[in-house]
Subunit: 543 residues, 2 copies
């Protein structure tokens, strides 16, 4: 086996990533910043928990060794294995901080082509080795760790060495892209063609195309084409029983969609190795604005009106007063609606003006559309202060969560979707009941904030952040109690257990109740047909 | 058993439907009109084949009898059975005309609720009876007939007694609708709510919601949300092993979509009994126009530009010169692009003007946007002559096909979708090769026309009509030779075997080659799990 790189998640860049927390190691809040964060929540620790070190972990010897022909793809170095042991859920971060991470995989493999993926699956199947497909490792639902002991060993299958844009169809605006490409890596390769995937989840820098596809990730667009699903033209999936290659088609009505079976399959049915993706021209016109509401119910009505119009904003995020305050979008207790429009072909100022007018007619107190402006650079061209404050905070939030975790706080973010008639009562119930559960578990006051991340003519996707000081040493249990309360409220309102974070292992209880039982049988049968030895990501979706 | 109605497809209306051909019996061309049609194609018969009569068929006694508890739902009357023996493909019509229809089902059942559907499946499963779910019976791919002899008897399960809109969610613009509702029946119930499904396939009057869902039907919108799939909020499906009920959700990322497994399952996995469907407000603004092109390649480029813009026309149909001539949209050999815009919230004249301008910049020779006009009535409010000519011809076409069939002509319509880089060569190859196959099979000159029915940023859906005088008495064999040539051309270009007509039995050879083999295994496993006795629509999709 080759020597392990010092940071195994980061073999292509010079900026090391954190093995235990979000994103770049050098972007984490320092001890003083953690303490300042902790001061926002009554009852947190007086000083931050230390940054955990791999050297302090008990990393057992690997339970299996790859054959010689595959050995050059595989490492058993502790740093690599620790960095692939878990995703980036609060639960994962806290387990690392408390020195009790999930089961550390025995081996980490970095295949460079589809053939090597198939060879690794063949070997694993023949040796009782579980295989956990791993992209950027940003799962917040326990999607990339092994739980249980039914397998002889665990192999983390890191796809990030397969990160090339292999073909571009300029006329048809599509590209064949390897699944292991992180967001910036694929966008960089598309830029010379004047094209972009425009899939910008919060995890954009630290997640891969394959991960987005396997988890049905939600992306840039707040309306219409909200999920990565809508941009898939064809998929290549390596299953233990053969490679599934669908045709490049703009649309088809030939039986149930093959791609839709693999979208959201979370690595349980096969390893997505590449996809033909539908692209956009880079936007030439952008305009954004924010409007404020004193009353959250009125804001919900305004958002529904915008979602039911033909306006199709690219961004349409409603922040409740807590979210607006935390992100700097508003200081006065208002809810804030962030609106953004973009187009490659035509000015969008009129659409923005219409949306703002619609919001005003539903009670928005202020709201000034910015002058239309050419799109100069991604993310840095927002003329509206609240919009830009929100965007910066959005990308910073996971780091702040880790800072709060170091102060012993419990921070859970969860998201869902429900019909418009359900949304108001659902949000109220989450605020009340999940807040109460957090306080009951800790004795401390809890904060529950809400935003709508995606909106539809028939409903919306609320996203919640719950924060409370934990019980020292017992934070993961507190998290579990909060999570159980959240799942219960979602289920009672028939709101989906996840709109775009995926099911993983953490959402299994809710998912199992939500999924129609005949579909569960069909999915189990499909799994048995494609992965008869049950080596692929055991425990996600189905048993 | 109760006395059979005189026309079993038509128990709720007073206007009898044809048992052997398209639509209403009284709308068929008379003998003189048939002869006039035949004169358009050299080599057709000198007088029309007689309209076939059920009384002339050899209808065998039924091979099974329902239990007493279900007998009131079931008929064995010859008229009912003959009308449910086949769909409305050319092959079906010609088999009826030649007195050799497909296997006539032993029984026809008309359940009135989900419980009765389940009871009928239970009985059928216990008695080796195949069950063919039947909506409007408009399948043009052999989707509603039985082939083979592996079952003791065949039950046609007619859902059209389940045709009610059960609930309407006005705020969230959705309705729970029973699957057996024909297009006009459901729209009539939605109208008082100011809402509409706006799914208007050519078969609108003679097909049901359940049929649309089971076959992934293409509908009204030529862009963006082209298939019925996009309007599904939740499904109820009765399988032989239990009822699958998905939650009403605007969107979800919880595993592979349960609904997407049943969409396009063509009755092989279960019987769709009802659905929550996303609705639209009735459009208040409409505008349409047509533009003409001397050069079809230029027209393709223009359509691509429109499809890749943000304009999202509701209608965007490109007719080649033959289609334009036949429909009366153009007399001078031009290709014609029909453009239509509509909105419930805002005027659409600017969007139409932009689309026409885009077409002109790609070589359109003329093109006058009509003045914007309020939407008064569906379908009757087109101000542009070519648009209105095209629409009338569109709805009349299947009747004309049957008239041509009575003159011994062979008429095959088939449709597909492919990427933009494939479309031009595909259309050329169909014209040349399928035309040649038709002539080779008959010795007569053949007509091959093409239109684009739906367009996408990454490709388009071409629809072909092939017409040729047949070999008298051997028309079905001629059809089979033409179909084989068409399937071969589609497969060679990796164009889907169907964009919205479904697979049925006629498209199985192409579908089996197109479908990824691992997906075929997964689908077969799902079928075994849901329909272990293989009673549901045997022969469609999978064996």
């Amino acid at each position: 086996m080759p020597a392990a790189p010092s940071d195994p998640l980061d073999c292509r860049t010079s900026r090391p990533r954190s093995w235990w927390g979000w994103g770049y190691a050098d972007a984490h809040p320092d001890d003083a910043a953690c303490a300042a964060l902790g001061a926002l929540l009554p009852g947190t620790l007086s000083r931050p928990l230390p940054v955990p070190r791999v050297a302090d972990l008990a990393v057992p010897p690997p339970g299996a060794a790859p054959p010689a022909a595959l050995a050059h793809l595989v490492t058993a170095a502790p740093e690599a294995r620790a960095a692939h042991a878990m995703g980036k859920a609060y639960r994962d971060v806290m387990r690392a901080l408390r020195g009790r991470p999930g089961r550390i995989p025995d081996l980490v493999a970095r295949p460079t082509c589809e053939r090597e993926v198939a060879d690794l699956l063949d070997w694993a199947g023949g040796h009782g080795v579980a295989v956990i497909p791993f992209g950027g490792g940003s799962s917040v639902v326990g999607g990339v760790e092994y739980r249980g002991d039914a397998h002889r060993a665990v192999l983390s299958l890191d796809l990030t060495s397969m990160d090339r844009v292999l073909e571009v169809d300029t006329a048809g605006r599509a590209a064949r892209i390897q699944a292991g490409a992180l967001g910036p890596v694929l966008e960089e390769q598309l830029r010379p063609h004047g094209l972009t995937l425009r899939h910008f989840p919060q995890s954009f820098e630290f997640s891969t195309l394959g991960g987005w596809l396997a988890t049905r990730a939600g992306g840039h667009y707040a309306t219409v084409r909200t999920h990565i699903d809508d941009f898939v033209q064809a998929l290549n999936v390596v299953t233990p029983t053969g490679v599934s290659t669908s045709w490049r088609l703009p649309a088809s009505g030939a039986g149930p969609s093959p791609d839709r079976l693999f979208l959201g399959s979370e690595g349980a049915l096969g390893v997505i190795t590449e996809a033909w993706m539908r692209l956009q021209e880079r936007p030439r016109f952008k305009a954004s604005a924010s409007v404020a509401f004193a009353d959250f119910r009125q804001a919900l009505d305004a958002v529904r009106a915008v979602a039911q119009s033909d306006l199709a904003p690219a961004n349409c995020r409603l922040l409740d007063s807590g979210e607006a305050l935390f992100s700097g979008a508003s200081q006065d207790g208002s809810a804030v609606l962030v609106l953004g429009f973009e187009s490659a072909t035509a000015p969008v100022g009129d659409r923005l003006a219409s949306a703002v007018e619609l919001a005003r007619s539903h009670g928005a107190r202020r709201g000034t559309p910015t002058a239309e402006h050419g799109a100069r650079a991604e993310g840095g061209d927002e003329a509206d202060g609240a919009v830009s404050a929100w965007r910066s905070a959005f990308l910073r939030m996971p780091y702040l969560r880790d800072g709060l975790a170091r102060m012993g706080a419990v921070v859970e973010t969860f998201e869902t979707a429900a019909t418009w008639e359900t949304v108001p009562a659902l949000i109220d119930a989450v605020r009340t009941e999940v807040g109460a559960a957090a306080t009951k578990a800790t004795g401390h006051p809890a904060t529950v904030n809400c935003r709508l991340t995606h909106v539809y003519p028939d409903g919306a996707a609320p996203y919640f952040t719950v924060a409370v000081a934990g019980r020292p040493g017992d934070e993961v249990q507190v998290w579990a109690e909060i999570k159980a309360a959240a799942n219960e409220v979602l289920h009672r309102h028939r709101a989906t257990i996840t709109h775009h974070h995926a099911v993983g292992r953490d959402h299994r209880p809710g998912y199992d109740l939500q999924r129609p039982e005949p579909f569960a049988r069909a999915l189990r049968a499909a799994k048995n047909a494609l992965d008869p030895r049950n080596i692929l990501n055991p425990g996600v979706l189905i048993d």
